[in-house]
Amino acid sequence: MVILSFLAALGRSTLGMLAALGRISIFAGQTIGHIARPPIYLKEIGHSLVNVGYFSLPVVGLTAIFTGGALALQIYSGGARFNAEAVVPQIVAIGMVRELGPVLVGLMIAARVTSSIAAEIATMKVTEQIDALVTLSTHPMKYLTVPRVLAGMVMVPVLVGIGDIIGIMGGYVVGTQSLGFNSATYLKNTVNFIESLDVISSLVKGAVFGFIATLMGCYYGMNTSRGAAGVGRATKGAVEAAAVLILAANFLLTSLFFTI
């Protein structure tokens, strides 16, 4: 009896998860459809570009610089176990560009932007502002979702690029100031080691993570239930879904770029 109940609960949650994935996929498809069709609200897109990109710079920069510095220290102390301290510049570069840069920026965007989008749209939903948009002949998807998702797809790769550079500079500062690396050699090793595929994969990951982060904010915001508790649940759900999907997408993209 206990086993049956357990299996039933497992089945219910699996079906629920698949249904949610289906709804999210339909929402994503509708969003892409609306991106391709006018009207385009340029003012809202501009506002979203600034909000997603410019205002995320401080958090992205700080995350990247500390991660790059810590990575240099870890590689140096770990590498010392088999006399490989010299590979610090190369591993910091490849680690930041291929993995840590995109993933950490993606997660920071999920924390900062996804939560803000979900809370804003959910509040608009519970205060009937979304209904008001419809009565004013404005499609909520075009006015709210499309500008934010476009901004995510454009600005997150830029943030990833900046994060990669700042992270590498963090490693450079630690490497040259406390690990005794020569400045010119560190930079030369870094530049020589990075390939164009590393950079392309980093930027593509940024675009995909930007899409996921903003889409989840919009989806959960638009589908919130009533009241303050509904807004809270939408925000929490959006950040959780964005973080998990970003990590899953990272695995898939890494497989696509570097193992096939």
Binding site: P39, T127, E128, D131, A132, T135, L136
Partner: protein, 248 residues
């Protein structure tokens, strides 16, 4: 003319509308009354297409609203929402002129702003309010801005959802008078949802009472007090005892 015929709507096992039949003649003001949670707002949102009825038909001038071209259909409507539903991120004048700044009714920005200020003046707000954000206004002022937005594009039909809820009696009186004046002045068809009987008497030409998912009584406002309908009588007089259960 707006006509609802045998409209049903349920949310899960909760049957909200169970065969609503209602006609609103052109140029008249219909007020729908009824207790909280009886489906008044669902009725109104069904006409606008914000909620899709499970069955039944809703027509506007004989045309099924679900088959009408959305943009031109919605351009005929203005709506004042219960909480104002003003867009927090936009200044007051852009809220009022929202419809005039995009879509088929788009005007130059300066013209849209002038119209917004004129509409704000019409609802008794000074031009200085135009550049404030909605969060900087009192509840009564937000309602008036919502009213200005509802009439900005001079629609043929205006919906008012609980226009006086949460306002003090004086501000309620101001809003009621404004609604009546605007509807008469514009010759618009109006549909108002309220359970404020003072509003009913100030705004209505006709009244419909919604209870148990159907229109329990409808008729001219002048006949309301002598209708002899026990549901209507209990509601008007605000009695706890009667056919309408106090605990729902």
């Amino acid at each position: 003319m707006i006509e609802l015929s045998d409209v049903h709507k349920a949310f899960g096992s909760n049957k909200v509308l169970q065969g609503v039949n209602l006609s609103i003649d052109k140029g008249t003001s219909m007020v729908v009354i009824g207790g909280s949670g009886t489906g008044k707002s669902i009725c109104l949102k069904s006409i606008l297409g914000l909620v899709r009825p499970d069955s039944g038909t809703i027509t506007l001038d004989g045309e099924d609203v679900t088959k009408a071209e959305r943009d031109s259909f919605l351009a005929r409507f203005g709506m004042l929402f219960q909480g104002g539903a003003l867009f927090d991120s936009l200044p007051v004048w852009q809220n009022v002129a929202f419809r005039l700044m995009r879509g088929s009714l788009k005007r130059p920005v300066e013209e849209a702003r002038e119209i917004a200020i004129e509409k704000l003046r019409r609802v008794g707000l000074k031009p200085a309010v135009a550049d404030l954000l909605p969060a900087e206004l009192s509840g009564g002022m937000q309602k008036r801005v919502g009213l200005a937005r509802a009439i900005a594009a001079e629609p043929e039909i205006i919906f008012f959802d609980e226009p006086t809820t949460g306002l003090d009696p004086i501000m309620s009186g101001v809003i009621n008078d404004l609604i009546r004046e605007i509807v008469v002045e514009m010759g618009a068809t109006a549909m108002t949802i309220t359970h404020d009987m003072t509003s009913v008497r100030a705004i209505a030409d006709n009244v419909a009472m919604l209870h148990d998912g159907v229109i329990q009584w409808t008729g001219p406002v002048a006949d309301m007090d002598n209708a002899g309908d026990p549901y209507l009588e209990q509601f008007i007089q605000g009695k706890a005892e009667g056919p309408i259960e106090a605990v729902r």
